[in-house]
């Protein structure tokens, strides 16, 4: 029976192993409050964030902030897992689409009156409000606009359009001309199926994406939107559907503008810096083209991200203190600058304005110049996080000729309405 004894020993070893594990890191009795803070991004953001954390800890020696960092594609998966396991980080970074999902299910704490918001842009602040509760404080703002490569436009022998008056037809015709003027490797424009684009397009026609618990856009609007893409593809103002899908999937740096192969493109204002850098060209921000006879461009201020606190946190005071520091302390803004959007705190902004990189100063000037025209972002209802996927999917099917626009528009609205009904 010697064989059995050895095997049993092994088993015991395995069990002690398990036991060891459970006793592993429990003791950390340095009397500090441990605050867990989750965010996503790349190594550059991680470094900035670690600096901010260090600066905060210096001011608040009794708090130990532990950053939990992940890349974007896996962020919500790991965050949702932790929340589901009742192990939510105390301070969480979300974006506007996550607000209703998390806030509407009781995962977030109401920050109204807990964080000083006196100096914040009140209009933008309202995008952190859901169901009458201030679940989130915006980290900063972006605007989606039309980015133009001026030099390439000159080369094609065209003039910068007057962005106050230009229409979608102007934009499509101009794109066609630019492609024709080139040698076939450059295009007039690239396009995106971003849901935000559709929202703005609809707003020009006086329709809201979300309207009283329903989708407020009409099939006609969606079809008009798709017709623009079809026109662009047909006139070669943009690449064909498959190639465009490939470019869109490849990201900012390999976009047409980023590689100097396109003149127009719709991007967030905070991407201007990256685009300028990778293309090495001087880029300009313009207002979106308008629908014929529209009164506004439909553009709006979008919060880049949201700071939120878990409703289950054991350290609400410390969590609030940290968020307060992030939005109100010029020291924090001096480190983060525009990494999480253009600051919305007027005092902070004044203090760091000159330190912003040139591209962000350019965005800031642009935003300031059109401020009075800008609306506020809509807070998507619960189920709103499905919308991006729905819009993209049907748009792909229509532009690649797999589905008729009529059928797709009806189905899109059906699916979108079902998504927010539940």
């Amino acid at each position: 029976m010697r064989s059995l004894k050895t095997a049993a020993l092994l088993a015991v070893a395995a069990m002690t192993l398990a036991a060891c594990g459970s006793g592993g890191d429990a003791a950390e009795g340095d009397g500090k409050v441990k605050l867990r803070f989750s965010y996503w991004g790349s190594d550059a953001r991680q470094k900035l964030t670690e600096q901010v954390i260090a600066a905060f800890e210096k001011k608040n020696p009794t708090i130990d902030v532990v950053g939990e960092f992940s890349d974007w594609p896996s962020y919500y998966e790991s965050l949702a897992t932790k929340v589901a396991a009742n192990d939510a980080p105390d301070v969480m970074t979300l974006e506007i689409r996550g607000l209703a999902e998390y806030g509407g299910r009781g995962a977030l704490a109401d920050l109204a009156g807990k964080v000083n918001v006196a100096d914040l842009d009140q209009q933008v602040l309202s995008t952190g409000n859901f169901d009458g509760k201030q679940y989130a404080i915006p980290t900063g703002v972006n605007v989606m606009g039309m980015i133009v490569n001026k030099a390439a436009l000159d080369k094609a022998g065209e003039e910068l359009p007057d962005d106050k008056t230009w229409t979608w037809d102007d934009y499509i015709k101009l794109s066609e001309k630019i492609t024709k003027a080139g040698d076939g490797s450059t295009f007039g424009t690239e396009y995106t199926f971003n849901q935000v684009y559709l929202s703005m397009f609809a707003a020009q026609r006086g329709e809201k994406f979300y309207n009283n618990g329903k989708i407020g856009i009409t099939p006609e609007t969606i079809k008009a939107w798709w017709a623009n893409f079809d026109q662009l593809i047909k006139t070669k103002g943009s690449p064909d559907a498959a190639k465009m899908a490939e470019i869109a999937a490849a990201g900012v740096e390999q976009s047409l503008i980023g590689t100097n192969k396109g003149v127009f493109g719709m991007w967030w204002s905070n991407q201007l810096g990256t685009l300028s850098k990778v293309s090495g060209s001087e880029l300009t921000l313009l207002r979106l083209p308008k629908a014929e006879g529209a009164s506004s461009h439909g553009m709006f201020l979008q919060p880049a991200m949201h700071w939120t606190a878990s409703s289950k946190t054991e350290h609400p005071a410390e969590a609030q203190k940290f968020i307060d520091y992030l939005v109100n302390d010029p020291e924090a803004a001096g480190i983060l600058l525009s990494d999480r959007g253009l600051p919305i705190n007027s005092k902070v902004l004044a203090a760091v304005k000159d330190k912003l990189p040139p591209a962000d100063q350019q965005s800031l000037t642009f935003v300031d110049s059109i401020k009075s025209e800008l609306a506020t972002a809509e807070v998507p209802p619960k189920g709103g996080s499905k919308m991006e996927d729905i819009v993209r999917r049907y748009s792909e099917a229509v532009t690649s000729g797999q589905q008729s626009a009529d059928e797709a528009a009806t189905k899109l609205l059906e699916e979108a309405n079902a998504a927010i009904a539940g």
């Binding site: 064989s3 059995l4 095997a7 049993a8 092994l10 088993a11 395995a14 069990m15 398990a18 594609p73 919500y76 998966e77 949702a80 897992t81 929340v83 589901a84 999902e101 998390y102 299910r105 009781g106 995962a107 690449p239 064909d240 559907a241 498959a242 190639k243 899908a245 490939e246 999937a249 490849a250 189920g383 996080s385 499905k386 996927d389 993209r392 999917r393 792909e396 099917a397 690649s400 797999q402 589905q403 998504a419």
Partner: protein, 326 residues
Amino acid sequence: MVDSLSLKSEVAAPAPAPAPKRGRGRPRPSVRSRREGWAAYVFLIPWFLGLFLITIGPIVASLYLSFTDYSLLDEAKWVGLDNYVKMFTEDPRFWASLKVTTIYVVVSVPLQLGFALALALLLDRGLRGLSFYRSIYYLPSLLGGSVAIAILWRKIFGADGLVNAVLAIFGIQGTSYVNNPDTALSTLILLHVWTFGAPMVIFLAGLRQIPSSYYEAASIDGAGVVQQFKSVTLPLLTPIIFFNLVLEVIKSFQSFTQSFIVSNGTGGPSDSTLFYTLYLYSKGFKEYEMGYASAMAWVLVIIIAGLTGVNFLASKYWVFYGDDSK
């Protein structure tokens, strides 16, 4: 004992035992079998610990969740069979994903296994520098799940990729294969075939389990290379072929990473690469319907288990084990 190997016989049972020796010099069967039973369970202690400590709980939990409406962010609510009913009656994307996955499995598994077996045979013996080739041919599999794969695949099958560069020589202008709904799935099938390293290695290891004396015996009997392959290699490799088949079917049905990376997690363009688990994943983690995702998971388990069961039943007719001492 290898002497008894008969190459001429059509029934290729490789090592028929020369008369079982049960009972000689042994305790009585009942005592022996009881002792054997005990020993077996002792050997299985780590596995049982794992099963009850970390495996069974989550599995049962997911089964329970499949009958609930569960968003991950708040409490699960019991809804009975709702998820299953909804899946079968009102979710076209469920069927779309099942179709995509089935095509993927049916095409890519035989291709990949055939490819892996052919290369394993080629790289087994009889050529100098084989260890070098083996390593080279394994390299693609090391890259299979890497984030770089999306870019690399675009470099080959993209609008400005290698394939189109070659086609351009012949004056053909191609499109982007990765992002064309008609061809996107084919590029993922190729990606799967390309990462044939794992089954190849298993085949190689299996080939080495075949005693060389069998081949010697065969060649003395005058069997040529083809004959040797048919009567020695193939039958003796069947347990390994079977293993690869069962596992590749299971793994391919669960295929996730490659589509997730190449399509940016969308399963696009227009759902042409929406693998079953990718859809399940986006239901669970992007749309906050973990109850529904769990139900999808259990439907997949039933499909896979059914296929595996069929595989096992069929294996009685074509798989030969060295321990078949009947």
